[in-house]
């Protein structure tokens, strides 16, 4: 087997694409003017920002004045949630609805607000990793300030019924925020049609550089200033704009959203071949719905082995992947996402996430499917857990 190098961790981050880099380069060395300056070079930067804002808005079905550039997904999530709660909490609305398997940027922000007098309802997800919109409706109260539900889960790639949740929130006049960091470029997003009031996105997940993102805020919603200072971002987020990064974001989101159906048509068969190939191994399971799933996400549990060992061995064979094991999370517990599906700890420890993009090929799939069985058999051979399971005939999945 000839060794290949396969980057299968696009849900973690992506490379800046050549087109995006080309779009950005002039803003480092030629058009480096401060967008707040009055002279021509400043005006050019200002014009570039306007242009980028329009382009990002167009990809989401939004208006340019509804887009605020930020440093990324976590910042956008923090701003949307804390900003909304700051404003509505003062009016007595001190209840937030979210889900148990949100990204930590949302979960930890909600936990912070709990310490400051807010009550949070953490909706469960079903065994397929999907939220029931009816649960959202049931949880809404008189004092609900915000519903925040992720568009697509970052670990298991399950796509949530966002339009339904949006319609429910609209009917109950409750603000609805979604963390769409994993969804942009993978699903068709239309913030108006889907009744989304606020949406977070992060550039580096779709080939823009790290450190640039955006928050869509529907016109009419006033968020308190995130950073106090100058008048940048309509005075809401002070600080000289990252013009090059923002231009890169605009180019990247245009490319990412240009032909989503083609991407889905190309990647879905590859994803399913990968899933089916891995599931041929005994005691393995797919985590999360196969149907309501991002076209570039595979998340499986392989019982009897531990995720970090699996990743190190795969890295040795040239495959970059990720896991929800405790050892890779830096905590004692495996991923909260996998546990939310009802997985046992020992099953969650053996999880593997492969995430890929348009450049993924059949050859890549075949190579990964050669590597995984070898690695799994080697790790299972030395696993006392596997040995015990085989002796006792234990079936965990």
């Amino acid at each position: 087997m000839e060794k290949r190098y396969i980057y299968a961790d696009h849900a973690a981050t992506t490379a800046v694409s050549p087109e995006v880099l080309e779009e950005m380069l002039p803003y480092f060395t030629e058009h480096y003017g401060n967008a707040s300056s009055i002279y021509k070079m400043g005006r050019e930067s200002h014009a570039a920002l306007n242009n980028a804002r329009e382009r990002v808005a167009a990809c989401l079905g939004a208006q340019a004045n509804e887009i605020y550039f930020t440093a990324g997904g976590s910042e956008s999530d923090n701003w949307a949630i804390k900003g909304t709660c700051d404003r509505l909490g003062a009016q007595g609305k001190k209840h937030i609805i979210t889900s148990v398997f949100e990204h930590h940027a949302v979960l930890h922000t909600c936990e912070y607000l709990e310490k400051h007098g807010f009550e949070v309802t953490y909706l469960p997800v079903n065994a397929e990793g999907l939220i029931d919109p009816a649960d959202v409706e049931k949880a809404i109260r008189e004092d609900t300030a915000l519903v925040t539900i992720m568009y697509a889960n970052n670990e298991i790639g399950t796509i949530q019924p966002i339009a339904e949740i949006g319609a429910i929130c609209k009917a109950h006049k409750v603000l609805f925020h979604t963390d769409a960091v994993q969804a942009v470029g993978n699903v068709e997003i239309d913030v108006k049609a889907q009744n989304i009031d606020m949406l977070s996105l992060s550039g580096h997940k779709f080939h823009a550089p790290k450190g640039v993102g955006a928050l869509y805020v529907r016109r009419g919603i006033i968020l308190p200033n995130l950073v106090h200072g100058g008048g940048q971002e309509s005075g809401r987020r002070a600080g000289t704009e990252n013009v090059a990064g923002i231009m890169g974001l605009a180019k990247a989101i245009e490319i990412a959203t240009a032909d989503i159906p083609a991407k889905i048509a190309k990647l879905t068969p590859l994803r399913d071949k990968l899933i089916d190939g891995i599931l041929k191994l005994p005691q393995t399971r797919l985590n999360g719905s196969r149907e309501q799933r991002l076209c570039g996400n595979v998340n499986v549990s392989i019982v009897g082995i531990e995720g970090e060992s699996l990743l190190l061995m795969m890295d040795y064979h040239g495959v970059c992947a990720s896991s929800g094991s405790a050892c890779t999370s830096g905590s004692l517990d495996p991923s909260h996402v996998l546990l939310s599906l009802g997985l046992k700890h020992e099953v969650a420890h053996g999880s593997l996430r492969l995430s890929f993009d348009k450049d993924f090929t059949e050859e890549d799939v075949d190579y990964i499917l050669e590597v995984i069985p070898q690695v799994v058999s080697r790790l299972r051979e030395m696993s006392p857990m596997w040995e015990k399971m085989c002796k006792e005939g234990t079936v965990l999945v």
Partner: protein
């Protein structure tokens, strides 16, 4: 989090993996829920550890510490093996990331647990010799 070259070497080419049939002492520490289990097999002749094998379910550091621990006690006397500390295992591996220190503790415990089993088989009360072997919950 970065592993030393020694850790990676012991992870990719672990020494003494396997089982010993009719082992004189077998110890198992950790549990699947925590994400690491180490099982250690000892062959003891007189007072000397003549063979040692291990099986580990766990992260890269868990495998590497098990492997290193087996190397460090192979051919040693029981007394020497009992004196092996997790710190010595870590040092032999050129260090471990802070979050992985518990893996080295587990390796030390696995040896003690196997020796405990050895003494029990001999009909000797292990506690005065080995002391208490803390369980998995204590190592985190």
């Amino acid at each position: 989090m970065i592993y030393s070259e020694k850790v990676m070497d012991h992870f990719t080419n672990p020494r003494n993996v396997g089982e010993i049939e009719n082992a004189d002492g077998i110890g198992e520490v950790g549990n699947a829920k925590c994400g690491d289990i180490m099982k250690m097999y000892l062959k003891i002749d007189g007072n000397v550890i003549t063979d040692v094998k291990f099986k580990t379910f766990g992260c890269g550091a868990a495998v590497a510490t098990s492997s290193m621990a087996t190397e460090l006690i192979m051919g040693k006397t029981i007394d020497e093996a009992l004196q092996l500390t997790n710190k010595a295992v870590m040092e032999a591996l050129d260090g471990l990331p802070a979050v992985k220190v518990h893996c080295s503790v587990l390796a030390e415990q696995a040896i003690k647990s196997a020796l405990w089993n050895y003494y029990e088989k001999q009909g000797v009360d292990p506690e005065p010799i080995i002391g208490k072997v803390p369980d998995c919950e204590d190592c985190h």
